[in-house]
Amino acid sequence: MKQMASVSTFVTIILLLLFSLCQIFLQLPPQKAALHESVASRAFYTSQNNDLSHQERNSAAQKAKSHFIHALANNPYEAGLWIRLASVHKTLGSENSQDNDSLVDAVRVARILRSDIQPNLDRILIQINSENRNDITHE
């Protein structure tokens, strides 16, 4: 029994050593998401700066969008990221219907994850739908 206890204790020590080393040196998805999020947030605030030219703001918003999507790929249940992605989408104001569908998806996910701000998100959804309808009638 002593030998079994000592072997199992040794295995426990080695397991903790391996787990700890992996946690320190591996970059886990939530950490990757946090990195992308910080870059995206900086780019997003740049895109809101009125002193910049339209083109510079647009490129900053594109960069923010790409980083927000990468952050979401690593942490898709983070409601805040979906909300900010939706606002970047709105800043870009694309007329492409596929982009509008993505915007609707982003707002819907945020709406599910954040029931406390559902009315605000519902308003955005109604706005997008009415814009889409206007586009269809214009066509």
């Binding site: 206890a5 020590i13 787990f19 790929a73 249940y77 998806d105």
Partner: protein, 337 residues
């Protein structure tokens, strides 16, 4: 090196205990890197102490072998009792016992159960719909589906397993020092102070849970995925939950049973010690009180990683009070044979 290692490791244990409790109280241990550093420190100390004990035992066996006698000669016994560090190593061997082996087995069962649940995520309708919506979004962007569907619960299970391993090693190392060192009371007082500090930092009206409900029909559980997501989807009641309630939802009744088995084993050991004539009866009583406090905070208080400091100081105390009698070398040698 051997002469100083034991004393250094004793102080390192005290330092790590304080460091872990303080980082539990004042830092965010939910961060994998920080928890990894705490885990690395405990595993390094445990590995060195383990190797020191093993080295002592091999030295001891070699000496006995040299005599060519089947039993231990009087000469060896006498020289053994005169060598301080030799004694410590042999006494420390008592920390490798059946109780600790059983605790490891129960902990391993719980960890396997958590990883099994992490690999088979819950098939709940609202969560599946949300996952489809997210997948649609990524397909619309021309990207692959995010891999977090399995990664998130796996990481949570991994972090929880790390915490359990740290707690076991704290418990085992404390037993090792209690068996081998008469100065173990220094650590016990330190652990008691840290336990009180953590307890008073934890309790308060703002930290208690809203209700003590537990699901009665969840045998398997939803896995250690994002509890927030399951709450947002209405699968779990959207209120503050204790670790006890969260464990019910995450690992089901099966997981909860595995999780509380080590505590139950220690409780039986303490109850057995209460009837032992050679032991101070106050010690098992203190141990039972510590177990009660741990259970009370686990059930009645909001799930918060700050409870780590309470767990670590509590299990250190349990390691101290759950030992059997400290006996002399001759008897230990007989047990070892």
């Amino acid at each position: 090196m051997n002469k100083h290692f034991y004393d250094v490791s004793f102080f390192a244990y005290c330092f790590l205990l304080v460091f872990s409790c303080m980082s539990g109280l004042f830092l965010d241990l939910s961060s994998p890197k920080l928890l990894g550093i705490v885990g690395l420190a405990w595993s390094a100390l445990s590995l060195l102490v383990f190797l020191w004990v093993v080295e002592r035992v091999y030295y001891f066996k070699k000496q006995v072998g040299k005599t060519g006698e089947p039993g231990l000669s009087h000469r060896i016994l006498k020289s053994m009792s005169q060598q301080k560090f030799y004694n410590l190593g042999v006494k420390a061997l008592r920390s490798f016992n059946a109780i600790n082996f059983l605790i490891i087995i129960c902990g391993a069962l719980y960890c396997f159960w958590m990883f099994y649940l992490a690999l088979s995520p819950p098939r709940v309708e609202p969560l599946l719909k949300l996952n489809e919506l997210i997948a649609d979004f990524f397909q619309g962007q021309g990207l692959a589906e995010p891999n977090i569907f399995w990664a998130s619960p796996m990481i949570s299970a991994w972090l929880n397993a790390t915490i359990l391993l740290i707690l076991f090693l704290v418990f085992w190392l404390m037993q090792l020092y209690v068996y081998s060192n008469s100065q173990y009371w220094n650590i016990a007082w330190l652990a008691l102070s840290l336990f009180f500090l953590s307890f008073f930092a934890m309790i308060g009206p703002g930290n208690s849970v809203n209700s003590l409900h537990i699901p009665d029909n969840i045998w398997i559980g939803y896995g250690w995925s994002n509890i927030d997501v399951l709450q947002a989807l209405g699968i779990i009641p959207n209120e503050r939950l204790s670790y006890f309630q969260m464990r019910f939802y995450a690992s089901g009744i099966t997981g909860v049973t595995f999780f509380y088995l080590p505590g139950l084993i220690v409780m039986f050991v303490l109850m057995r010690n209460m009837f032992s004539k050679s032991l101070d009866r106050r010690l098992p009583l203190i141990g039972l009180l510590v177990l009660l406090v741990l259970l009370y905070v686990d059930i009645g208080y909001n799930a918060n990683i700050r409870q780590f400091s309470l767990w670590i100081s509590g299990w250190c105390l349990l390691g101290c009070v759950s030992i059997r009698e400290r006996s002399n070398i001759r008897r230990i040698y007989r047990i070892h044979q």
